[in-house]
């Protein structure tokens, strides 16, 4: 059972490694951000599986934090270009 | 025991890559990111040496130090980024002047 969970974690890490190609390739910043979010979900899964495999229940809290806070980077990113356009809209 | 070598060597590689990036990039933001990678390497080395056989008790002292280190690293990153912004506002540049950076590199 433990070996199965470790193998599952390895498989998920391989998924992240494959997805890195999209971050490197782009082509747009939005694509890169989408991949980062995808890694976040995968990372939550890996941490949960590792918590089970290594019998370390407190790692689940780290997964909880990732699930809770991954959105912050996106909020920051979305703001990236809005100020110029948003302000232009507001001045009207 | 294998785990110790794997993570310790990874830590060394991260540290050296970060060091290289620190010298390699002119852009201040990239320098700060490289510095953070370096910090990650140092933390990883600490923990890998605290936990050589990856089972049983982990030495709590390095863990506490790394915990302190992570918070210090993020606060220093924030301050450095603020300085980088200030430089950008003053000079419109994201990098230090070439002549300056060579002097810095020599001195």
């Amino acid at each position: 059972m433990q070996i199965f969970f470790l193998a599952l974690a390895c498989f998920l890490i391989l998924n992240i490694l494959a997805g890195l190609w999209r971050v490197v390739q782009g082509p747009t910043p939005a694509d890169r951000m989408v991949s980062a979010q995808l890694f976040g979900t995968t990372g939550v899964a890996i941490l949960l599986v590792l918590a089970q495999a290594l019998e370390a229940p407190y790692i689940r809290n780290a997964a909880l934090l990732f699930a809770l806070l991954m959105i912050m980077a996106v909020l920051s990113f979305v703001r990236k270009s809005t100020p110029k356009q948003g302000q232009a809209g507001n001045i009207k | 025991m294998h785990g110790f070598y794997i993570y310790a060597i990874t830590a060394i590689l991260l540290f050296c890559l970060g060091l290289w990036g620190l010298a390699f990039h002119r852009n201040l933001l990239r320098k700060i990111v490289a510095l953070n990678v370096m910090a990650g390497g140092v933390f990883l080395f600490f923990i890998s040496i605290a936990n050589p056989d990856q089972s049983g008790e982990v030495d709590p002292v390095p863990q506490a130090m790394v915990l302190t280190g992570i918070v210090v690293a993020i606060s220093l990153t924030a301050f450095a980024l603020c300085l980088a912004r200030r430089i950008h506002e003053k000079t419109g540049q994201n990098e230090l002047d070439t002549s300056c950076s060579i002097e810095d590199g020599d001195g």
């Binding site: 806070l69 980077a73 270009s81 | 785990g3 890559l17 390699f24 953070n36 923990i47 002292v61």
Partner: protein, 323 residues
Amino acid sequence: MALFLDILVAFSLVAIAWRIMRAPGHFQAVVLFITFGLLLSLAWARLNSPDIALAEAAVGAGLAGVLLLDTLRAVAQPGKVKTGAHFSWLLLPCLLLAGLLTLSIIHIQPDSQGLARAVEAGMQTTSLEYPVTAVLLDFRGYDTWLELGVLLAAVLGLLCVRRKKSIRAPLLPAPAEPVGRWLISILLPLILLVGGFLLWLGAFAPGGAFQAGVVWAAGGVLLWQAGHPSLGALPVSLWRTGAVLGFALFWLLAATALIRNEPMLTHPQAKAWILAVEYAAALSIAVCLTSLAIGGQKSEDRNQKSEVRDQRSGDRCQITNNR
């Protein structure tokens, strides 16, 4: 299988670090750095250090990404895409250094006990049940004290660079979408709750002031990202009190011990007292990190400020209309 996992994590870490250094675009490097934090926290989980995994998760997922992306936006130079780089030949000496360091660690005989035994012996004298928290707050209180000092110094440095007297940063305009507001109303209570949970957990399990402080700071930054006016409405004195509370409490501890002619930072072994210090430290870390994350903004000039205020009041009208 565990060995394979280790190799995989190690390889990904090095590969991502390499790509961070070599990436042509800055945005790509920042996104890769966020992923780097994720993999690093997997490594911490694998290395039996849930405390650090928690802190890394909170810092890497929340604060680091926000700080870097915000700065990237602020210093963007539209015409200039390629990174200026020099000294690429330095890679060789750096790899040489890596080789030398690797040679040196082969000769290390890792002491599998380290200080673990000393800490175990000391655990009987302290009223805390979890060794890492005991080291942080009791055995090596200096570290935590000076760490709070570093945070405070960073905040002061920020204020000097920005020439501001108060930590309150100009608030960003609120997002026009209802989704953002809805998200805040769901996530913020949970962030407060999870931070409190970690703080409570710290007395006997992985968790504690550092993780709780970082999580709460993430909550504060989220509030600011959503343009919620509550952070700006807090009086300056409260900000200042929050920022110095942890440091001041440690200082008081040290001073009273000296007055009572005991070694510095020895304190009455009451759990309530230690927990009070821990809670104050968490609060200070949260306030300082929040100020660091949002205080780096350029102070806006009057026009923009009034514009922000207009929009905020407009926003409020919208809320009342919705109701």
